[in-house]
């Protein structure tokens, strides 16, 4: 734990360190001035040192060079001093010394500490370097002036190098001979061979000094290089040779970068320091060839951000070596770190760079920001576990998922009570100092997250912290949150997800992003004006005029958390940024009904994350809500208009979140749209972003390739489907997705519907659909009907239903049949569009009369209609509503709708249920999934069989037990209950006993299921008792026994007891 004392010590150390760094930067700055002389530079260096040392008031400095000396005013030598020699080409050319006028407390080297020694050495080295390059520069300049006079100027340079830096001469000669050989010059080849294997292996030498074996080859080197350049001069012009030499000498200075970057063993600290060195070299005018710069970029990207080719192929064009310098300083890493930043960090960094690049041409990007972010490298997690002796945790992923789930709360507890490595704590304190007391979000940034196609969305934790209180409290809040995010790596959800995708063995490390929460404080709450997500491809088009590429925005007031997830009790504002004027909600009723009612915020007082009722909040705080006029509209006098600055009565007016002002009066939509387009084009893949707006600026929070939930990813449309298996096809307004395991199809026959002459009868169709919606297995049936589902008023245009009458369907299909000379417009589900989106009910329009479209009327109108089996009193509608039991008419198969937006194609085909064993192995992913699905119904069946076997029939008065619904149909999911029919013929006491006994089973099974899947239920059994009478009259659920569709299946009773 952190205490006040060691925190103070830490803070003062940090300040000292910052002072020293500053000193070094100042020196580097001075040396990098292009035409400055020693006389210009040295006084500044002296000044910088004076300020940089621990006791500036008694500090004096002297610099002595061969032909000149500099010192502080009133300089006197004392006994408290330290010095460093200034070297060029291994030769001392001067000395730099620091003296204290008075005695100061003893440190590592007299009154001087270790860091000051390092600093002085670094400054001396920099000066030496500077002097050497000044010399070289002079020579080049002299040579240039005499090009025409002398024939072999390069000779002079070689001579100089021979005298001063033989290693450089070797490297340059070697490069020349390489270059000659590559150009196909045969005379060079024997020369190449003269480089002995030992001397060839100069990889370890580059840029470093004092390697003994250099001397071994030095005897014949000058001769060899002379011969090489003789050959070169026969093939290359004087100036070509000179240019090459010059370039190589320059590049040689950056060779340390190659060493460090190419060496997979180099630590992050080393990389960080070489990037810093490189940064100052470039400031001194050292330029790299484009190719070399590119190779550095790629190395850095691979090392720091991602080793996925899909990533660095794009990133290398946008991220420059210098870009690393800034953010390297905000990376926290353990000693000897080899970590990366992880997918989320890398994605955001790249996206930002792409936008920065594009902002040169596009004004709209100029003000898009990213929040201040600090990073912990991915090996921080390993460091954390090993620091706390938690290494065993890696075994977690190989345990049974039930055990993982059981142990997870303990893992969290242990993690939260573990300490961080002091190195990391130091980094975190620096970060908190830098952030100040503003709320932070701690995001996971795992290595797996950046892989194309693995959408870990929401699998790992992201935590908000208020970051309030004393430094000590804030640091503890931060560490607590980080350890919780770390613990989430070992949570059951990600482990299960990885296991499903065969990623369990992939080395998973977890980087952390510590990001400033964008927002403003209002009252006790801190939140942005708005937050949300945007997708470059719109998978939920509500109008035929909206194209996929018009994108989709989901946006909410406050923190974007409510836009990310689908909500059950609230709605985000949605629109297509490419066509912002085409709204989903048009009538006042729709606009108000589908407007957000709550927002998420951080309560700074209680330091918690809260969901707040927006109307209540506005009553109290009114226009203090950031961006109020852009977000809120007033519903008054039968009009909904954006709130006006002084015209809103917060007590009386009916306020509605519409974002209307944002759309009408700001460039927000354009910014998002352009951003989506640019990123989409650059990635050459659909992307999604998270954003927030604080009322002043738009912030990009996250960017990744568009992720799809399991059921909305692109389906592969099979070719050569046998005609009898193809029920319908579509090729207009298709979205991506797969709707599988459809056991029932409800078809409202368009021709029959249009011929109904009685208004009541038309309404009755809607009510009947509503009843079917209650009875048919949830999310396992689809509705097909003419025209516009949910028509109001003129209901001839489509079946008049409310959302509650269709809310159990898995898919809503509208059929547009050619009428005389026109094809009617479809509704695209607009009557309850947002309800469909939030409930993930898919929509598809069919145009059966289009060329090349299949609409299998033989199947739809020829298959037996079981409407009256289910609803005996609906006989009069038998011609209009056809209910087809797919499983019954296809011998146990199901219907599947495959949709592929890229190919604008969808098909509904008869296929085997996904729970059934596969005949042909599918692609990995779907195969894994099918096994997964398989598990749930099998587990249920096994247990119910056990229950039946244990049931004492005599004791409870039970005559039979039947299974129906999803378990019987082999489609049960992780949260499905088990539908059981019990044929009961006993006394009331027996009934109570039985129900008690079953209740026990139900709760036990529920608990077991929770351990397996993490889904909590109040009991897992759904029990329906039926009597002899019910069976005789086939009332209620008794109709399921021997039913035409979804018939209940009898189970063997009491076998266990009897035995």
């Amino acid at each position: 734990m952190i205490t006040k004392d060691n925190l103070d010590k830490l803070t003062s150390d940090l300040k000292e360190r910052a002072k020293e760094l500053n000193c070094l930067y100042e020196v580097q700055e001075l040396l990098s001035q292009p035409d400055a002389t020693l006389q210009d530079i040295c006084p500044g260096v002296i000044q910088a040192i004076q300020n940089g040392w621990q006791y500036p008031d008694v500090c004096q400095v002297s610099i002595k060079l061969q032909d000149c000396a500099f010192q502080t005013d009133g300089f006197v030598e004392t006994e408290w001093f330290q010095s460093a020699e200034i070297m060029t080409q291994n030769e001392a050319v001067g000395i730099i010394s620091v003296y204290y006028l008075e005695e100061r407390p003893q440190a590592e080297e007299g009154p001087f500490n270790d860091d000051e020694r390092k600093l002085l050495d670094a400054i001396a080295a920099q000066l030496g370097n500077y002097l050497f390059h000044q010399q070289l520069k002079e020579i080049f300049e002299n040579q240039k002036g005499q090009v025409s006079k002398r024939k072999q100027e390069w000779d002079t340079i070689l001579e100089l190098l021979e005298r001063t830096d033989i290693k450089l001469l070797i490297r340059i000669s070697r490069k020349m001979v390489n270059s000659l050989c590559w150009s196909g010059i045969q005379e060079a080849e024997p020369l190449l061979e003269l480089f002995s294997p030992v001397s060839l292996n100069d990889g370890g030498l580059l840029g470093e000094t004092n390697f003994p074996f250099v001397k071994k080859v030095s005897n014949d080197m000058p001769e060899l290089s002379r011969r090489i350049f003789e050959v070169a001069s026969q093939h290359l012009s004087e100036s070509e040779i000179l240019t090459s030499i010059q370039k190589w000498i320059q590049e040689d200075r950056s060779s340390f970068l190659v060493d460090t970057l190419e060496d997979t063993g180099s630590t992050l600290a080393e990389i960080s320091s070489v990037i810093e060195r490189y940064y100052h070299l470039t400031a001194q005018g050292v330029k790299l060839s484009t190719q070399r710069e590119m190779s550095f970029r790629v190395s850095l990207i691979r090392r720091m951000l991602s080793d996925q080719p899909s990533f660095f192929n794009i990133a290398k064009n946008y991220i420059h070596v210098k870009d690393f310098n800034v953010f390297m300083q905000r990376i926290i890493y353990p000693q000897d770190s080899h970590g990366k930043l992880g997918g989320k960090s890398a994605g955001l960094f790249l996206a930002k760079q792409i936008l920065v690049n594009a902002s040169e041409e596009n004004e709209l990007f100029k003000n898009i920001k990213t929040p201040k972010t600090w990073y912990i490298t991915s090996d921080g997690l390993r460091n954390f576990t090993s620091y706390n002796y938690l290494e065993d945790i890696v075994e977690q992923k190989y345990k049974d998922i039930a055990q993982v789930r059981k142990e997870y709360p303990y893992v969290v507890h242990v993690f939260k009570n573990s300490a961080f490595d002091p190195e990391i704590v130091k980094g975190l304190s620096l970060a908190l100092n830098d952030f100040g007391p503003v709320p932070l979000i701690i995001r996971s940034s795992s290595l797996l997250e950046d892989r194309l196609g693995t959408a870990f969305a929401g699998k790992y934790k992201s935590l908000f912290i208020a970051n309030q209180g004393t430094m000590e409290e804030r640091l503890n809040q931060l560490m607590d949150a980080i350890s919780e995010v770390y613990a989430s790596t070992f949570g059951p959800d990600p482990i299960e997800y990885r296991s499903e995708r065969g990623l369990l063995d992939y080395h998973e490390e977890m980087g952390i992003m510590i990001q400033e929460v964008v927002g403003k404080q209002v009252g006790d709450y801190f939140f942005p004006a708005l937050g949300g997500v945007a997708f470059s491809h719109n998978e939920f088009r509500w109008s035929s005029r909206i194209k996929r590429e018009d994108g989709l925005i989901r946006i909410v007031p406050g923190l974007g958390t409510r836009a990310v997830d689908r909500l059950s009790d609230d709605y985000p504002i949605m629109f297509a940024p490419g066509q912002p004027r085409l709204r989903i909600n048009v009538t006042h009723d729709e606009i108000v009904r589908y407007s957000p009612r709550f927002f998420d915020a951080i309560n700074l007082k209680t330091r918690t994350f809260e969901t707040v009722d927006i109307r209540q909040f506005l009553k109290k705080h009114g226009a203090e809500f950031p961006y109020f006029n852009q977000l809120i509209s007033v519903f008054k006098n039968d009009r909904i208009q954006p709130a006006r600055p002084l015209g809103t009565d917060f007590e009386q007016d009916y306020l509605v979140v519409t974002m209307e002002g944002l759309l009408r009066h700001t460039s927000f939509v354009e910014q998002i749209y352009e951003m989506l387009k640019t990123l989409n084009e650059t990635y050459d893949h659909p992307i999604d972003i998270e954003f927030a707006h604080d009322g002043e600026n738009l912030y990009l929070l996250q960017c990744r390739t568009q992720s799809y939930s399991e059921d909305s990813r692109r389906a592969i449309i099979p070719r050569d489907i046998p005609p009898e298996k193809l029920i319908f096809s579509a090729n207009r307004y298709v979205t991506n997705g797969l709707v599988s395991d459809i056991t029932h199809l409800v078809y409202v026959v368009p021709q029959q519907y249009s011929e109904i002459a009685d208004h009541q009868e038309l309404l009755a169709v809607g009510r009947t659909i509503g009843r079917l919606n209650q009875i048919l297995p949830k999310r396992q049936f689809i509705l097909l009907g003419p025209g516009r589902w949910g028509s109001r008023g003129d209901i001839k245009l489509g079946v008049s239903v409310t959302y509650s009458e269709i809310n159990n369907t898995s898919m809503l299909i509208e059929i547009a049949r050619q009428k005389k000379d026109y094809v009617p417009d479809l509704s695209f589900g607009t009557h309850f569009f947002q309800d469909l989106v939030e409930a993930n009910i898919r929509y598809l329009p069919l145009y059966p009369d289009d060329h090349g479209i299949v609409f299998n009327e033989e199947f739809l109108e020829g298959s037996p209609n079981i409407l009256t089996e289910i609803l005996p009193d609906a006989g009069h509608l038998e011609q209009v509503i056809r209910v087809i039991d797919i499983t019954a008419v296809t011998n146990g198969n199901i219907l599947k709708v495959l949709m592929n937006a890229e190919e604008e194609e969808a098909v509904a085909i008869i296929a085997e249920p996904s729970g059934a064993p596969e005949k042909t192995p599918r692609k990995n992913e779907s195969f894994a999934r099918s096994i997964k699905t398989d598990v749930h119904w099998r587990w249920r069946l096994r247990n119910v069989e056990g229950l039946a076997a244990n049931l004492d029939t005599a004791r409870f008065g039970v005559k039979g037990l039947y299974l129906f619904g999803r378990t019987k149909n082999a489609t049960a999911g992780p949260g499905s209950d088990i539908d059981i029919l019990i044929h009961f013929d006993g006394t009331e006491t027996q009934r109570l006993d039985l129900m008690n006994w079953l209740e026990g089973w139900s709760l036990s099974l529920s608990q077991m299921n929770y351990m397996r899947t993490g889904i909590k239920t109040d009991g897992l059994l759904d029990i329906h008792l039926i009597t002899d009478e019910d069976i005789a009259s086939r009332t209620s659920y008794a109709a399921k026994i021997g039913a035409v569709t979804d018939a209940a299946r009898p189970l063997a009773l009491g076998s266990f007891v009897r035995r």
């Binding site: 509500w542 109008s543 035929s544 005029r545 009790d569 066509q579 004027r581 085409l582 709204r583 989903i584 048009v586 009538t587 006042h588 009723d589 108000v592 009904r593 519903f635 008054k636 006098n637 039968d638 009009r639 009916y654 249009s754 011929e755 109904i756 002459a757 009685d758 208004h759 009541q760 009868e761 038309l762 309404l763 025209g787 516009r788 109001r792 008023g793 003129d794 001839k796 245009l797 409310t802 959302y803 509650s804 809310n807 009617p824 417009d825 509704s827 695209f828 607009t830």
Partner: protein
């Protein structure tokens, strides 16, 4: 098999009334079909640069009693027969309320869900440009209807005024207050319904303070109806409403009487009552259709169609004496028969909810003279109009021993036919 045609249904209804009135052939011929129909094209420059042409209509069924009056609908699959039927219903509606207006209806085939605001504005203005010569404050007065609202009306009014170079607020109703709208419009329908209930109670010789009522729906109509009903001393026992979150409706019951203010404080903009808060306040939460089976004197279906059906009519308590149809078409034909047989006093929809159209008429009157009344004045005049309209229908029903619905229908047809005769048209 014939397809359902709303116009034919409306004609059959008319024929029934015409038979009772023994109207002659000419009167039937004139009233069976609209007097004028306008069909026109509205070219619109779309946002994406394309041109699109929309079909517009205006049907003036009859203007013998005064300028035609009726809404403008934006509907993607509008048919001329629907517009004809609706225009005819408007004629009967204004006639039964006995206001000096005729019946009309219009619309554009379009789906606002597919259109931007700008495009909708262009459609509105285009509609006016095509028909401006045949509509006007003294000819034909539009109003908002399906998928149109005050904004559309203001665009239309503005275009009309631009063409004629003068202000003509009386050309359109449904305008916002301050832009030519009338006060009291929100209250009008609900108050109007209760005014008819009050008159019915008088006829039945029952004191309002001794009555209880159950309401279906808790929207605008119900809320103001309850307000006035409570002022009269009545007690509301039960209110039903739609629950958006649960996607079902509930009935909220308090046997000692609902407190309107309290209930309004837990109600959203669309009349959805917060279920859990209602429980806290001591309301019983019952299934959505429980409102109909309450032991009350008055039933007020005030939200949806088809609430009193062959199935549910049997649940109506023996105590119920009045059914006042605040909503349009809440009762089916089968239910009508039983209500008639059980001698329950029915106040038919186009009489019970005529408060709305009456207030539109007031808006037009005020706009024409550019002088706007205080709310009290509007509501006072509403009371007079509604009372007179109710007494006329009720007397007629008693005199001719007709079911109230038939009486209201016959009286309005009779008034229109008479106006046509007076003008010498037939």
């Amino acid at each position: 098999m014939a397809t359902y045609n709303p116009f034919e249904t409306a004609q059959k209804q008319f024929d029934k009334a015409a038979d009772l009135l023994e109207l002659d052939q000419a009167a039937r011929a004139l009233l069976r079909t609209p007097m004028r129909e306008y069909h026109f094209s509205i070219p619109v420059h779309m946002d994406d640069g394309n041109k699109q042409v929309f079909r517009g209509f205006r049907v003036q069924h009859n203007d013998a009693r005064g300028p035609a009056k009726g809404g403008i609908r934006f509907h993607p699959q509008e048919t001329i027969d629907t517009v004809r039927a609706l225009s005819m219903w408007m004629t009967w509606k204004t006639a039964v309320a006995d206001i000096p207006l005729g019946g009309g209806k219009g619309g554009v085939i379009c789906d606002p869900h597919n259109l931007s605001q700008w495009e909708q504005e262009q459609i509105c203005r285009g509609w006016i440009r095509q028909i401006s010569k045949n509509v006007g404050p003294h000819t034909d007065i539009p109003a908002p209807d399906v998928m149109t609202n005050a904004q559309h009306m203001l665009w239309m009014l503005d275009e009309y005024e631009m063409i004629y170079g003068e202000r003509a607020p009386g050309f359109i109703t449904g305008k916002p207050v301050g832009m030519g709208g009338s006060l009291g419009r929100t209250e009008a329908t609900g108050y109007g319904t209760i005014i008819t209930v009050r008159e019915a109670l008088k006829e039945l010789d029952i004191k309002p303070e001794n009555t209880t009522a159950s309401f279906q729906g808790f929207g605008n109509v119900s809320q103001y109806a309850i307000e006035l009903y409570h002022q009269m001393g009545g007690s509301t026992i039960c209110v039903s409403c739609w629950d958006q979150a649960d996607q079902t409706s509930y009935s909220f019951r308090k046997k000692e009487g609902v407190n309107l203010k309290e209930l309004l404080s837990i109600t959203d903009a669309f009349g959805g009552i917060d279920k859990s808060k209602a429980l806290e306040l001591g309301y019983e939460v019952l299934p959505g259709d429980a409102w109909i089976e309450q032991e009350v004197d008055i039933l007020l279906p005030a939200a949806l169609e088809n609430q009193v059906t062959g199935e549910t009519v049997g649940k109506i308590s023996k105590r119920v004496k009045i059914i006042a149809e605040g909503a349009n078409g809440p009762t089916t034909i089968e239910a009508d028969k039983e209500i008639f047989e059980r001698k329950i006093f029915l106040i038919p929809d186009f009489l019970a909810n005529a408060g709305g159209v009456t207030c539109s008429y007031f808006e037009q009157v005020q706009s024409n003279m550019n002088y706007f009344w205080e709310k009290d004045e509007v509501l006072g005049k509403l009371d007079l109009k509604m009372t007179a309209a109710f007494i006329a229908v009720s007397d007629f029903a008693r005199k001719h021993n007709l079911y109230m619905r038939d009486a209201a229908y016959v009286i309005s047809v009779d008034r229109v036919a008479q106006a046509c005769k007076d003008r010498g048209w037939i």
